[in-house]
Symmetry: C2
Amino acid sequence: MAFPLLVDCDTGIDDALALAYLACRQDVDVVGLVSSGGNVPAATVHRNNLALTGMLGLDAPVALGADRPLVEPPIFADDTHGPHGLGHAQVPAPARDEDPRSGAQLWVDLARERPGELVGLVLGPHTNLALALEIEPELPRLLRRLHVMGGAIHHRGNTGPTSEWNIAVDPEAAQQVLASFSAAPRRPVLGALQATEAIVFRAPELDRLEHLARRSVHPVARILADAVRFYFEFHEADGFGWTAHVHDPLVTAHAVTGDFAGTRPLAVDVELAGTLTRGQTVGDELGRWGREPNVDLLTEVAAEEFVEHLLATFEAGLD
Amino acid sequence: MAFPLLVDCDTGIDDALALAYLACRQDVDVVGLVSSGGNVPAATVHRNNLALTGMLGLDAPVALGADRPLVEPPIFADDTHGPHGLGHAQVPAPARDEDPRSGAQLWVDLARERPGELVGLVLGPHTNLALALEIEPELPRLLRRLHVMGGAIHHRGNTGPTSEWNIAVDPEAAQQVLASFSAAPRRPVLGALQATEAIVFRAPELDRLEHLARRSVHPVARILADAVRFYFEFHEADGFGWTAHVHDPLVTAHAVTGDFAGTRPLAVDVELAGTLTRGQTVGDELGRWGREPNVDLLTEVAAEEFVEHLLATFEAGLD
């Protein structure tokens, strides 16, 4: 009984790992992708998504998202993901067509077609989901649930000193999504940096991806290895050593399986005004705001177990 | 070879523990106290400081600090420290006179009298030190070094969701002190919540204080036990259980001995503009600002060892 999933992502090295993971799973049906600006420009993300979904046999519509955040000019992370978004890998020209709708419209259409069934997964900035909420304010009640990779709660940021990339790119969008989804029947599940940074690839994991790339005929196996090698080089340059934090796959796998992490309810909001802290997610652990919890925060990550699961899924599915 | 110390504090339960600790030590010479508004109004703090120093045999001048922060109206923490600042304890009417100077002037005068020798210890808001810097901009170079209890770096706040009390009361003052002391020969030592919350009193520690109060003739022994019992009641009401975080003594003991914690350099600044994060201390772990480290942050706290040291010091000195 595969469930329908819409993925909104800014592919992106770890986004590519997440898409490959989804393609390898039988228990989820990817029914749509939205190409979000973020790690690289939306048009580059779109090309990556069209090419990867083609190679991965995911035939869901892929719609282009907005080319800029709601308020600020776009920023990109070429240093983290390479100029094409996939590190040392480059995808071939896509063999399939884009969906003509906007990313926001795809959110709305897919949710309306399956009221109460569609699961949303945001692995990039929240721009397109915020725009979708302008078209269809009932979206939080039309979705079955929402999973988000984003934010850092009482944790060093990876963009500003306390801000995480997906939120920092478009803080207004993230704030609007959190506010709107406080009316959802189920709290969004938020995978923030303190959870996703528990997922660390080191030399043995890169070796396994390289080994898979050498023995597999699946073109995506080579792309993942070349992409992740670049990710290691970036993390080394940023002071973390020969390693990579692999954010999106954990949130994705938790959305599919419910495994590999627990959750705890928390009231979370986004700082929009700070000089030093704009784009920071703030969690109110002690109830100072007097608000109900509005997210389920990923916690207690089974990191080793998940890394093994992820690589084994690739080895079985991209063979 | 006792070194000269000026203490600027908002006594306050944990401030009282710090003052009692200092009075019990032979290796430090308290040469001045500044009564800072904070936990309770400055006038109430002043009364506590005059009475406690009298009972503790500390004959240093005690000067009244400003009655409000630099910009915002004052806030107080009656819930945490009780209306008189010492929980269930009340001090007798002070038997000694205040120093006629302002708190800011006392900072300046004592530093000028001992250029390069005076150590400063701020256990409350930074208001008076910021005012002293207006009188004497050379203060960072006149002091031997500065130790501060304040802030929370990537850690739940105890005032706002991400802000710590001493900084949240007067963020502008804290920001100005940090900026001015970037010109100091030695970086200020910052004991933030993630270090000081490691110092936890539980039932056995309260029992030891109660036992000391019963057997000792020293009036401060009873005051500490009655104050700390209130502190336990507050922490229980705030969701932490029958326990108390004892912030100021760790920073104080580290300033005196150099023991019980390590330090690591970090660039830290104070958010003044945030809607959710005003008063938050932000630490730039990954060098995003391109600034030199401006504090030595307390880390690697030897919590059990310190708690034993603190209680043993009271048992030996307040007997």
